[in-house]
């Protein structure tokens, strides 16, 4: 039996008085062995980030360790002073954060930042530091290491930055690596590469790794052992095989059931060929000299869902902004119910807006924090022509329709969770009785169990109200759950389109194949 690298026993971290629970982390016991990836999985608020921050001696202000030990190399990490911590961070424990751009200093080159780690923790001479930095960058499979070393963070892509961060974390070959959602901000194909790199670290260098994530797909790809956290407690812990294939705890079962799979859902074929509710043809969009959309042509019939799938920079959000006329395309036409909308102005434009509504990505940014949700929805109804009494009644009906209580009417957004807010956003869009609904990454910010509920709600409403839906997402797995048709975009071009089933099971374009290949947890669920 191998010696464990880190042994956490009965760790509790207390929340300040007045929080919704007493402990951020309660009675957690975990161990990490060398050459092992321990995934800590949990949804937002599960305490997983507080746990890692505590292990780095950087618990957020106001939180206090209330008991337990975290033993590493014969020392209890929880009793160290700040001075002792400085010696351990970077040297014995490396840390990788979620936002690669934010964890690098924008004013220093990559070489300077990596060498700085050596300056702090070693007495290597200058030439040795430079040589080691270069070797690290090479090990991260970064192309043109010499160019990368001379670059500033803004000259690199997100994936490259994250690899630089990993290089820095590994500079002193720490025995333990803590990675907090290291791939969440990355595109799916980049994520696959970073995950591969992390597996290599385990296999070739024997690092023990604590990997925090909310994505069970990623877990399935990478974990040796899994700890599932909920409301600060570890509810289940075991080998990856055990937890994923034979989960014991109900919560784990719910989580696993909610993971969207790449297998398309059965959706009835269109009964009759209806005139499309939305047609887009030959849409081009440029920002200055940079063309971000090339000849986009789409159409959606009433009662059908079209997904636009693509990574960041593919132009999918620009299409959404064009559709709701927040920006105007350089050329092309958009028609709602056969009526071209790009030339409309003033009152005519305002009347048209009612027919094409949007559900936004961020449930925290899309509702005005100062307004009560009921009047917000009722106002939308009034703008579409209802009188006050009708509008109030419609708002209350819609709140029920999206699965909230009627008494939610008088509450402000702060009283709702992310998923509930997204329901309010849907109700507000529906209050205008639109023909076309645009959902721009509308479930991306939600926890996986909530995501599944909101997807079900959307699919149900869309069928009942015979809405034409344009569903924009970066996640093929989510698209598989709701689409009749899928359009795959890359760098402003449509590279593949077809019925969801066809695209997912028999992809024609190499890029689509890459996307499917990179989808985390493929085959596990």
């Amino acid at each position: 039996m191998t010696q464990s690298l880190l042994q956490i026993r009965n760790l509790s971290v207390a929340l300040p008085k007045g929080a919704d629970r007493a402990f951020a982390v309660h009675d957690v016991s975990l161990e990490v062995k060398p050459a092992e990836i321990l995934c800590v999985v949990g949804e937002s608020g599960s305490g997983k980030s507080v746990l890692t921050a505590t292990l780095m001696g950087a618990a957020p202000r106001g939180l206090r360790v209330a008991g337990g030990t975290a033993e590493m190399g014969g020392r209890d990490l929880l009793t160290l002073t700040e001075r002792q911590w400085r010696d351990i961070r970077g040297k014995d424990i490396g840390m990788i954060f979620q936002e690669p751009m934010a964890s690098l200093n924008p004013a220093l080159t990559v070489a300077q930042q990596i060498e700085e780690v050596f300056e702090l923790h070693s007495d290597y001479p200058r030439a040795e530091r430079a040589a080691r930095a270069k070797k690290l960058v090479e090990e991260m499979h970064l192309p043109e290491p010499d160019r990368i070393l001379k670059s500033f963070p803004h000259q690199l892509s997100g994936g490259q930055c994250q690899r630089v961060v990993i290089a820095m974390a590994l500079a002193m070959s720490p025995k333990l690596l803590i990675a907090d959602e290291p791939t969440t901000a990355l595109d799916v194909t980049t994520q696959a590469q970073v995950l591969k790199l992390i597996r290599e670290l385990r296999d070739n260098h024997g690092h023990g790794i604590i990997f925090i994530t909310h994505d069970l797909g990623v877990v399935a790809d990478i974990a040796d052992r899994i700890a599932v956290m909920r409301r600060g407690e570890v509810v289940e812990i075991g080998s990856a095989e055990q937890v994923l294939k034979a989960p014991q705890h109900d919560y784990t079962k719910t989580l696993i059931a909610a993971v969207p799979s790449l297998v398309p859902r059965d959706r009835p074929a269109a009964e009759t060929e209806e005139a499309p509710a939305l047609t887009v043809s030959a849409l081009n969009h440029s920002y200055g000299a940079k063309q971000v959309l090339h000849d986009i042509t789409l159409s959606v019939a009433p009662g059908r869902v079209l997904s636009i799938v693509g990574e960041s920079g593919s132009g999918k959000s620009t299409i959404a902004r064009n559709l709701i006329r927040l920006t105007d395309p350089t050329s092309g036409t958009i028609a709602v119910g056969g009526e071209p909308i790009l030339d409309l102005k003033g009152g005519a434009l305002r009347r048209m807006r009612r027919r094409i509504q949007m559900i936004f990505q961020d449930p925290f940014g899309s509702l005005n924090p100062r307004r009560k949700v009921g009047p917000m929805i009722a106002r939308a109804a009034m703008l579409s022509g209802a009188n006050r009494a009708e509008a109030v009644e419609r708002a209350k009906e819609l709140l029920e329709l999206v699965g909230l209580q009627r008494n939610a009417y008088d509450r402000r957004p702060a009283a709702f969770s992310g998923g509930q807010r997204q329901r309010v956003g849907i109700a507000r869009a529906l209050a205008m009785r639109p023909d076309v609904l645009i959902a721009d990454e509308s479930v991306s910010a939600l926890d996986v169990s909530v995501q599944a509920q909101v997807l079900d709600l959307l699919a149900d409403l869309q069928k009942r109200l015979s809405l034409a839906v344009v569903f924009i997402t970066h996640d093929l797995r989510v698209a598989a759950q709701i689409s009749d048709e899928i359009v795959v975009m890359s760098k402003g071009h449509v590279v593949e389109r077809g019925p969801a089933n066809e695209v997912l099971t028999r992809p024609q374009h190499p890029y689509t194949r890459d996307l499917i290949e990179a989808a985390p947890g493929r085959g596990a669920f």
């Binding site: 006329r325 927040l326 009347r351 936004f360 899309s366 005005n368 100062r370 307004r371 703008l383 507000r428």
Partner: protein
């Protein structure tokens, strides 16, 4: 909703001082023992009984007027004109800030240029020039303060507006076909109030100082109106022999300003905590 504010000592002390002066201003006729303009006995020392047995709490000035009564009535002048001037400055700053921040482009460029021109003058010089040109009167003081404070308020509002306007709920309002006016005043304006409440308290204090300064420079309210700054000015020449002529008006000005500054600090702390919490 207001409970977190009432738990802050800063808010309590600052608010207490400011509220105290407000009450003094409102109930001036009940509090002041004498008519502030009436000559009673020249240059009586504080707490010394007068010839007819009157008690002059803070003494009397060289024209024999009771300083305590003049301070009490002066509070009314300060409270009324600082508030009025600050409010009008806010009306203009808010209006143009919202427009510039939301419209952007050329509108923003022109308005911001004008604001910067005004802001590039030293404030005091600006006041003096304005008052000298249009004359010293209550209305003109309000105009002068508005003219020189509105650009600073404009800049704050414009900044917040640019931030708020980029949020999705504003886009949602646009896509619902909401009118621009309603978006500005119903969706954006209420979201600017946190930082603005802090600025309002600070600015109210500055304005009180400004009105005091103008009074001191002889550009304030024309005599014999009781005016704190004017009282300091009048007592200046004899301040060495009769320090009570200037000390009490100075304490009045600084206690009001201090109160408002503490209140602003307290509000900011609570707002920041709220933001962190959200």
């Amino acid at each position: 909703m207001f409970v977190p504010y009432l738990k802050k000592p800063l808010v309590l002390i600052g608010g207490g001082l400011a509220l105290g002066w407000l009450l003094v201003a409102i109930f001036a006729p009940l509090i002041a023992p004498y008519d502030p303009l009436q000559t009673l006995q020249p240059l009586a020392k504080p707490m010394v009984a007068g010839a007819k047995g009157e008690l002059f709490l803070f003494g009397t000035d060289m024209l024999g007027r009771d300083i305590f009564s003049r301070l009490v009535w002066g509070a009314r002048t300060v409270v009324i004109y600082s508030t009025l001037a600050t409010l009008t400055a806010y009306a203009f700053g808010l209006l143009f800030g919202l427009i510039a921040g939301y419209a952007g482009g050329r509108t923003d460029a022109v308005l911001s240029f004008l604001a910067n021109v005004v802001l590039s003058f030293p404030v005091l010089v600006l006041y003096i020039v304005i008052i000298v040109v249009i004359g010293a009167s209550p209305v003109n003081i309000v105009i002068a303060v508005t003219f020189s404070s509105a650009p600073a308020i404009y800049r704050i509002v414009r900044g917040i507006t640019i931030d708020v306007a980029s949020r999705d709920f504003v886009k949602a309002a646009v896509t619902q076909g909401e009118s621009t006016l309603r978006i500005l005043f119903v969706d954006i304006l209420p979201n600017t109030t946190g930082p603005l409440a802090v600025d309002f308290c600070l600015r109210l204090g500055y304005t009180a100082i400004t009105i005091g300064t103008l009074g001191f420079l002889g550009l304030g309210l024309p005599p014999p109106t009781p005016d704190w700054g004017g009282m300091v000015n009048e007592g200046r020449a004899m301040a060495i022999a009769f320090p009570h002529l200037v000390i009490f008006p100075c304490i009045a000005i600084s206690s009001l300003t201090l109160g408002l500054s503490l209140l602003a600090d307290g509000l900011r702390e609570v707002n920041d905590a709220k933001e962190r919490h959200a």
